[in-house]
């Protein structure tokens, strides 16, 4: 794609957004479930339908599965143009783990029948997916999972418990990692199945976290059923499927939420407000100033690295081991930002609820707490370092045996 073609695409995208995006929704970064005003909910639903018709819920997917067959640079143009006018794309939120993880994996490993059955619902945001991967005794050591799936002819029968199944209580479908051969070595007896959540054998229970209510659930399978036709990849080859799935997850977690959209929103401005400045415009607290400067450098270095890796891949960022570097640096930036913001806010930075605190102050506390999960989920900080040392640097395996 030439620069000229991309510019033309940008112009047509801008025109389409001007015609179709309702200005009343600008800068409303809300998920459907949090919108209570019926009129706004209706507008958002109409907006979702228009995006789905365009194939922009998952713009890089083939058209026959609900995408728009666009290139990565074109998809980026759509995101950029939407960001400019404060438009949000509700489909990736509505599809849960569908757009970012399940969909790309089904595209790669799925049969034609599976693609036709599952992808259009994800791309339109009408079917929400959750993932049943971790178990109470299988966290970072995911391959030691024990949820069993027994072959009953046309279907598997599942028994066991999953944890951290984000959005399980509101999802229609689940992608689950299950043990199908308990005699094989632990990574060789695992399969990836897809099953509907609305069935008797599936129960979910939301988990309350240190930051309060959370999207995470415990999910219990008691004789739950997954059709044979919904086995993704080969039987007992689920480990390959999930490795790929997790690469897609890391890829989707590489943007640092601590990185300011622009300088005016940066932590330094918040700090000046709370801490004050000296006669020369420097932050009054020299120690804090140094640490904020370091943090902003980390954030900028992270952003520049994302851009560099993208440029080096010539606009086609492939899922690579480099994602592990980015996940860890994104984690550090996000967590440090919350910690520093809290410190900047002082007494106002430690509130739980109530009128004594502004919403920014309370939001930071919740973000600080929920952000502790970033270095745990999607492969912990330590697991990412294992991946870097083994896959990028070629050092010997240090952890799993067998």
């Amino acid at each position: 794609m030439t620069e000229t073609e991309l510019t033309q695409f940008r112009e047509s995208t801008r025109a389409w957004l001007a015609d179709n995006f309702p200005a009343s929704l600008a800068n409303k970064m809300l998920g459907y479930e949090r919108i209570s005003d019926p009129e706004m909910a209706q507008q958002l639903e109409a907006w979702r339908q228009k995006l789905a018709e365009q194939g922009w819920g998952a713009p890089t997917w083939p058209k026959e599965y609900g995408g728009a067959a666009l290139s990565q640079p074109e998809a980026r143009v759509i995101s950029q143009e939407m960001a400019k006018i404060g438009a949000m794309n509700p489909i990736p939120l509505l599809a849960g783990m569908g757009v970012t993880m399940v969909g790309p994996t089904v595209l790669e490993y799925g049969t034609e029948e599976q693609k036709q059955k599952h992808l259009p619902g994800i791309a339109s945001g009408e079917v929400r997916w959750c993932l049943g991967l971790s178990e109470p005794n299988a966290g970072s050591d995911l391959a030691s999972l024990s949820t069993k799936a027994v072959d009953e002819g046309d279907y598997f029968v599942l028994n066991g418990q999953k944890i951290w199944t984000s959005g399980a209580d509101i999802s229609q479908w689940c992608g689950a990692l299950v043990r199908t051969d308990s005699t094989a070595k632990k990574r060789d007896g695992i399969s990836f199945v897809m099953l509907p959540m609305d069935q008797e054998g599936v129960q979910t229970k939301p988990i309350r976290l240190i930051a309060g209510a959370s999207p995470f659930c415990e999910t219990f399978f008691n004789d739950a059923r997954a059709e044979k036709a919904d086995l993704l990849g080969d039987l007992n080859d689920g480990w390959s499927v999930v490795k790929r799935l997790l690469q897609h997850e890391r890829q989707s977690q590489t943007s640092a939420r601590g990185a300011p959209a622009n300088k005016a929103d940066g932590l330094q401005e918040v700090a000046k407000k709370y801490v004050g400045t000296d006669g020369e415009g420097r932050l009054a607290d020299a120690d804090l100033r140094t640490r904020i400067a370091n943090h902003l450098m980390d954030a900028q270095a992270h952003g520049l690295t994302v851009a560099r890796i993208t440029a080096e891949a010539r606009g086609n960022p492939k899922v690579s081991a480099a994602a592990s570097i980015l996940k860890n640096s994104a984690t550090k930036v996000a967590q440090t930002k919350s910690e520093l913001t809290m410190e900047v806010m002082g007494n106002q930075g430690i509130g739980w609820e109530g009128d004594h605190f502004t919403s920014d102050e309370l939001n930071n506390v919740r973000e600080w707490l929920s952000g502790k999960a970033i270095s745990i989920y999607g492969g912990s900080y330590e697991v990412q370092n294992n991946i870097i040392s083994k896959n990028i640097l070629g050092l010997p395996e240090t952890t799993q045996k067998g």
């Binding site: 700090a271 415009g281 932050l283 400067a293 270095a301 080096e312 294992n386 010997p396 395996e397």
Partner: protein
Amino acid sequence: MAALTEEQSMLRDQAKSWVTEQSPVVKFRAMRDSGVELKYTPTTWEAMVEMGWTGILVPEEFGGSDLGYLTFGVVLEELGRQLTASPLFASALVGTSAVLLAGNDQQKQALLPKVVDGSEILSLAVDETARHAPAQTALQATAADGGFTLQGEKTFVMEGMAATTFIVAARTSGTAGDESGITLFLVAADAAGLDRSSIHTVDSRGYAHLNFNNVVVAADSVLGQVDAGYADLQAVLDRASAGVAAEMLGTGAQAFDMTLEYLKTREQFGRVIGSFQALGHRAAELYTAMELARSCAEHALEAIDSNADNLAEVCSLSKCRVGDFLHVMSNQLIQIHGGIGMTDEFDAGFYLKRARVLETAFGNQAYHRDRYAKALGF
């Protein structure tokens, strides 16, 4: 590595193979052991001139190739890998930047072709005390007889014993600490009253201390505007910081490669030491720091080439982040190599020593963190 043009890739390959074959670190060791006062090997420098590296920044009308700062950075990174010492950086990047940014046509014509052919070696003389603090310039330039008389000292002047012309930051008005009242001068190294003596730094590279004892210079030796040299000086220092960061990145990258190789081959307790998770994770952290530093280094050079308006920010980011990486990396190079890393016979010590000297050059990490914060308005 940034998405390089074909020309840049070619130059990188040329630099990589030349440095590896003609100027490996063993040559640097031989130079050090020889005790040569210039602190570089003349044939090494001649080869660089021959390959045209002295003209990378110089416009074609003055005999150069005008390939820009990212291209220069690519070469410096390769030189940094093998610790190659020469006046290339001081003259063809820092000095040349000063002439390009502040010089008039006559000055460019007089100096740049000679920089390219190696007959002129330029060097910037800015520091006067233990700390890099350009606004603190105190070396006095007093107007006299249509020219100026210079009185004072400069220290830590890169390749100061080899330089033929110094670019000297001097005070023409105000007092130390004022940003206004600083003027840049071109001063011939053999000017009457200018004495230089070599400074023996830990990294065995060429630095000099300069004494100006009523050195008389003509009015046309002013580079840029009288009293208004600070902005030019900052612009030169931005380029110097970004350039030295590229060299430092190469030094750090080589230190990383040496360490990784050792982790894969050294055996203790019946297994290679890289199979210990403590060391695997340390290597992963160092690699991550290196990749982040590389992004900053390349971005600063690209920003200079595209005349970006936030050079103070991105050049300080680069110098600081590469400096932080190299600092940790050079310590880990020794630590992970253990006892052998402590011996003079092994090269690790060279990398550690060079690391600290370049961290100090043009302001250390603390200096650039402060400068970055100022650039961001806090």
